[in-house]
Symmetry: C2
Subunit: 457 residues, 2 copies
């Protein structure tokens, strides 16, 4: 037997044959997440964990044999955080799907494989709401959401994933299972380890259970849609809105993304607009009308061509769905490099204008959509994968946009995580001292470096 066969046999012995997959036709589907990292490795095996005990068994075995483990949720990550490494294990939690909601403490205890949309549904059965809403909410898992500190559209008012995580069960590199936090709104006992694991992208431990804070169901929302001939009028309107109130959603689409969505969905969007804003208020009662009026007036004052207000939830949701569909719609026009840069709000106009300059200079199309209310943008760099020169220019633009965001006091990733695709830029953002601090913590928790090697660090 080869060394590889020996390893697989020992893995099967350790964790049980039922959850070990080595069929290359199947494991091939676990080499990449949605970032489609071309440098993805070929894993030794995929393990489909069904329980915390399975995850623990994998880590005990991996520590003994010094085999790297790449944890994976739904595989919808956009930064290559779940890219397989050669000779490693891909440990998928997709089969761990239990959920229990306690309406009295307003918490949910969830296994990592449950999809975000399923968590929302379980909460809704009790009249409760789990707010974070990545655009991929129908296909991303809560484990991945926790591991990347995922965001979404409502975060401008309701915060991001970490704001809703009260407790975690985590399996450490050496197989130790730790329970952190719990169903308590307040807990100052010991270090904030729960929060340390949120957004740690699998490099410190594997999240096997999440205790989530839930809030009362979102009240009905009204939606404001505004189109602008000039991009700078739209960014002016964004600042005017956030200065006067806290919208429940404030999304931005540029001309390229408007047209890509209109091509795909034929919903009558204004193809001539330079930018479109979609804003929401979900304040109770008459206050909602006040807020939509304020937002509509801010758009008009900033020079909007057309401003439309609807109290019909379905009509409003159609526009949010159009915004969410922008990434797949733009992807129909070519391959994508997907950015996630964010800046403090006053720098948003500079960022959007700077991106346009980079696109011009590199001769590539960059569609821009944004969670505008919190300064988090998703420039989508489009390239023809058959055109090597264009692909190279697209990659240059990818780096330049991150460098631009950093120069504006921003971040290379607002909600997707660093993964493997953005790690070269992380030191530029946080500085060498913070990288050293990061390495010290990584080394303290995973001295052999077997947890998701190559991600973040």
């Amino acid at each position: 037997m080869s060394i590889i066969d020996d390893l697989v046999t020992s893995l099967t012995d350790a964790v049980g044959a039922a959850i070990v997959v080595t069929d290359p036709d199947i494991t091939a589907g676990y080499r990449q997440d949605w970032a489609r990292d071309p440098n993805a490795g070929t894993p030794l095996a995929v393990v489909r964990a069904t329980s915390t005990a399975d995850v623990r068994a994998v880590m005990l075995w991996a520590t003994e044999h010094s085999v790297p483990v790449v944890p994976r949720g739904a595989g919808s990550g956009l930064s290559g955080g779940a890219t397989a490494v050669d000779g490693g294990i891909v440990l998928t939690t997709e089969a761990m799907r239990a959920v229990t909601v306690d309406p009295v403490t307003r918490t949910a205890v969830v296994q990592p494989g449950l999809l975000n949309v399923e968590v929302k549904a379980a909460a809704a059965e009790h009249g409760l709401w789990y707010p974070p809403d990545p655009s991929s909410f129908e296909m991303c898992s809560i484990g991945g959401n926790a591991a990347t500190n995922a965001g979404g559209l409502c975060c401008v008012k309701y915060g991001v994933t970490t704001d809703y995580i009260l407790g975690l069960e985590v399996v450490l590199a050496d197989g130790t299972v730790v329970n952190l936090g719990g169903p308590r709104l307040k807990d100052s006992a010991g270090l904030s380890l729960t929060k340390l694991f949120v957004g740690s992208e699998g490099v410190l431990g594997i999240i096997t259970e999440v205790t989530l804070r839930l809030i009362p169901a979102q009240p009905p929302a009204s939606t404001v849609v505004a189109t602008f001939t000039r991009l700078s009028d739209a960014t002016d309107a964004i600042l005017a809105i956030t200065r006067s109130l806290r919208p429940a959603m404030l999304e931005f689409m540029d001309s390229t993304s408007i047209n890509a969505v209109e091509d795909a969905m034929k919903m009558g969007l204004d193809r001539t607009a330079a930018a479109m804003l979609i804003a929401r208020s979900d304040s109770p009662g008459a206050h909602r009308t006040e807020e939509t009026e304020t937002m509509a007036a801010a758009c008009t004052a900033a020079g909007a061509d057309e401003v439309f207000v609807t109290d019909d939830p379905d009509e409003g949701e159609a526009f949010a769905a159009a915004r969410r569909f922008a990434i797949p719609a733009v992807e129909r026009t070519g391959s994508l490099l997907l950015e996630d840069v964010g800046v403090p709000l006053p720098a948003l106009a500079d960022l959007v204008q700077g991106i346009a300059k980079i696109a011009d200079a590199r001769g590539v199309v960059v569609a821009v959509i944004a969670h505008a209310g919190d300064g988090n943008t998703h420039p989508l760099i489009v390239f023809d994968p058959e055109d090597a020169d264009m692909e190279e220019r697209a990659h240059q633009a990818f780096g330049e946009i991150m460098t631009l965001a950093i120069s504006l006091g921003g971040t290379i990733t607002g909600e997707h995580g660093v993964g493997r695709l953005k790690k070269a830029w992380l030191p530029d953002q946080v500085g060498e001292d913070v990288m050293e601090l990061t390495r010290r913590i990584k080394h303290a928790l995973d001295p052999a470096g077997i947890l998701n090697p190559g991600a973040v660090l």
Copy 2:
């Protein structure tokens, strides 16, 4: 010269004589925080930092000379987190008081010595609000709030300190200054180091600047006050309220604390009541009336003797002030051991009843006040400091109440921190594996153990 004189001379040379205090009459005031730890040591010197550079200079010097450093904010801590250690430095940040508010990004950049009430005032100048409101908000500092992940009365709806911290500047044990996070609502770049330092009680680094998220000013609030003959009716009412809505405040006082406050303030509280609840709604417009009606009805249905509703902010605030005054009021009746135990809400009645049993068994008075809406209680154990036997029984009750909270799935500290007074119980709550994880992180960041030794760990 003695070794001590040599050390002080070298400290003065390193950080400047202007900020080094060795006058024993002054340093005596820095030996203890409000926990009044009888085992407090005598520091070598107190350093009054005026800048991050001062803090850095102290840590460089302390690392070189292996001298322990106890960071201190306003000294209002209740767990002995800032108790001086023999031969160490007490590093106070009380003179670092700068604040800048940016209304566009809705953030404030604040030095650690500014008081919570001053942060609120600076935000209010721009129509903004910093929610966390420890009862000590007029005398506690934002640095201490960050270091303990402080809570307060409004946290039941608005969350705790960590939910408002977007960025930190921290000086590490070796004098390295790191900048973590920043004025961005979303940032998934690298490990969540900002959140790790929140609640770390000075054992990982010294917080020298905080970037806070602010929100629009709180709308006017209405207040519901209800008194109950039976304690269990009050806890029933708490569950009924939190099951149906999210109050902006939901406070509890027992008979002992009601009477202590009434003795001090003569405001006409019902001395015969077994319990009093003070609840608030700050929802906009008509929704507020709906919520106060729902809360009042829940109290009546649970068996309240009297239910009083007021839309007058001053009148409502008088009751909140009465609740805040409970600790000093009870303290007039004897020395206090102050608990901060929290439990998941359904266990609140068991906790309160269990505390009464412990008080009976130990023959001590335990007054109970609580941030009832989030299950965080402050049992106040009263003893006569001249009565050594009673003091011993009070200490036994102190431990037994924490053990009770742990047995109910709760925490030994909801918002005050572990400090030195509660650290013996921390392993019982979090388990040995989490303690080991905690030690690994502590060792990675402070290998010589000079940062606040004896606190938490």
